[in-house]
């Protein structure tokens, strides 16, 4: 190894190390604070304790908010999976003009400011006579989750070799059976991974959800921000640590199903 190669190796390590530390700081700080005994976020914590986790049970409004968030995320992801998969099939298999436009349109909610989409929906839903907060949240969250499904399933479908279905039929499968035995298993990883990340995006959404909330219906991020404003203490870090854990689980499953490098594709 020449001197220049060795130096460039060190530079790569230094940059990589700095990036990893910088990016992980908020997550590590959250977890460390949630397990500390200090009320004032002292780091490193003077002593370890589970007191903030014990207090979670007594937090007013936490459980209802968690339930609302889980329900909205689950239902909106399920709806988006149906709508998104049908649409992805049309985009990959269909021969009609404007496919490019349709796919840009479907992914566009990811590119526009959530706040503006939220305000537009707030006024648009009012104009259409939709006043129920829970229903509005659900309708809005399908728009949040749909792009994740469409993007990933289109990617997976365009790599799928459709002649395999013909092969299965030649070998005696009926058309539905061929779909179930050949298409579904090969799409399943992309399907599950995109569903997971869509679910997380719905769970974590703040800028759209904040327009559809009332005294009874609050999603978890809305409730958390209210705690931060009212009385910031490490209990919020304990809730955050729970959400970080959820993201870790999604990442591990996603890595198993499609691999880390695939997840990083942009």
């Amino acid at each position: 190894m020449t001197a220049i190669e060795r130096v460039s190796q060190y530079v790569v390590w230094a940059i990589a190390g700095f990036t990893v530390v910088f990016l992980m700081t908020p997550l590590i700080v959250t977890i460390a604070v949630s397990f500390g005994s200090s009320t004032v976020f002292t780091l490193p914590p003077p002593d370890w304790s589970l007191r903030w986790y014990e207090r979670l049970a007594g937090m007013r409004g936490l459980l209802p908010a968690l339930v609302v968030s889980l329900q909205i995320a689950a239902v909106s992801t399920a709806v988006a999976m149906v709508l998104g998969t049908l649409c992805a099939i049309a985009l990959v298999r269909g021969r009609f003009p404007g496919r490019e436009t349709v796919s840009t349109f479907l992914v566009s909610p990811l590119m526009l400011p959530g706040l503006v989409i939220g305000i537009a929906m707030l006024q648009g839903f009012k104009a259409m006579g939709l006043r129920d907060v829970y229903a509005s949240l659900l309708v809005a969250h399908v728009v949040i989750t749909l792009p994740y499904i469409v993007r990933t399933v289109v990617g997976a479908l365009s790599l799928f070799d459709f002649s395999l279905i013909d092969a299965a039929r030649t070998l005696g499968c009926s058309y539905p059976a061929a779909l179930m035995r050949v298409l579904v298993p090969s799409l399943a990883p992309a399907f599950l991974t995109s569903g997971m990340f869509a679910f997380l995006a719905s769970m974590d959404n703040y800028p759209i959800s904040m327009f559809f909330t009332d005294a009874w219906t609050k999603t978890l991020p809305i409730q958390m921000l209210q705690y931060v404003e009212e009385r910031p203490d490490p209990t919020i870090a304990a809730i955050s640590a729970g959400l970080v854990l959820l993201a870790i689980v999604a990442l591990v499953i996603g890595d198993r199903l499609v691999g880390l490098r695939k997840l990083a594709d942009f």
């Binding site: 009609f96 910031p232 942009f266």
Partner: protein, 283 residues
């Protein structure tokens, strides 16, 4: 009409499968956005630009626009300064280091902004990590509070948006053949010349899309400034949110929302156009 046997492109039955999703988005997403846009342009006497004229004639609002663009520009600069070398490190790292880097880039992406912004509230305190580190390194004489300062906001936002700079640049860096640069060296090019004439042009498409992502997200961020800098510092997004949620001033909110929308759309369209031109030059 010569080829009668060919089915009309509009009659492809598979296309109908896209209908539910498209109709859904048209009704609950495109229509509301259009409605917001139209409403901001109509006054009691028909078509008007009055709300925009009165918005821009208030010097306070110019400060808000200035705050928004200045913070977004700084966040983009910081993200680029860290993200560009990081993308190269990610592409050139060994297997284990690459996995560690990928995890630290993807994991924060699946955690919400509220969680991360709250964590930065802790990091930026007077007794927080940043302050302690800088004092420890001897760069600061005494601990300082970065929370509720513009520097703190830029640092926190840059941290949250950094993955959106690294990933698009990484996606082009990993395609570059390292032998290109070696070939340049063999032909006698200096490292600087090789960088500006080989590496930089090849990574430009990634830079354009990374910069566009980060800038447009920084312009419209809402939770991060509310937690890291507070109400005294207003950006277009926080002003929009406040005018709907607190001030009940829907007119002002709609005006600023449309300005944000136009900004975001022009960044997306503009960056796509630039990326296409760069791609065209190389081909």
């Amino acid at each position: 009409m010569t080829v009668k046997s060919a089915p009309s492109p509009w009659r492809d039955p598979v296309a109908l499968l896209a209908a539910p999703a498209v109709i859904y988005l048209l009704v609950v997403y495109a229509f509301p956005l259009l409605w917001l846009f139209m409403k901001s342009l109509t006054g009691p006497g028909g078509l008007t630009l009055q709300p925009y004229v009165s918005f821009l004639s208030d010097p306070f609002n110019w400060r808000v626009v200035g705050n928004t663009l200045r913070v977004a520009a700084w966040v983009t600069v910081v993200c680029f300064a860290i993200g560009y070398p990081a993308a190269f490190a990610l592409a050139r790292a060994g297997a284990v280091l690459q996995i560690v880097m990928l995890v630290s880039i993807i994991l924060p992406l699946s955690v919400g902004a509220v969680v991360k912004a709250f964590a930065w509230q802790i990091v930026l305190r007077r007794d927080g990590i940043v302050s302690q580190t800088l004092v420890g390194l001897g760069l600061w004489d005494e601990p300082q509070r970065l929370l509720f300062t513009e520097t703190g906001l830029v640092l926190g936002a840059a941290n949250i948006f950094l993955p959106f700079m690294i990933l698009p640049i990484y996606s082009v860096v990993k395609l570059i053949d390292p032998r290109l640069s070696e070939a340049g060296a063999t032909l006698g090019a200096t490292p600087l010349y090789r960088f500006t004439h080989v590496t930089l042009p090849l990574t430009l498409p990634g830079i354009v899309s990374g910069v566009a992502f980060v800038f447009s997200m920084s312009v419209s961020m809402f939770v991060i400034p509310s937690l890291l800098i507070g109400d005294r510092f207003q950006t277009l997004a926080t002003l929009t949110g406040r005018s709907f949620l607190l001030m009940r001033n829907e007119q002002l909110g709609s005006t600023t929302a449309v300005i944000l929308l136009v900004l975001a759309v022009s960044i997306v369209v503009g960056s796509t156009w630039v990326a296409r031109r760069i791609g065209g030059n190389q081909a």
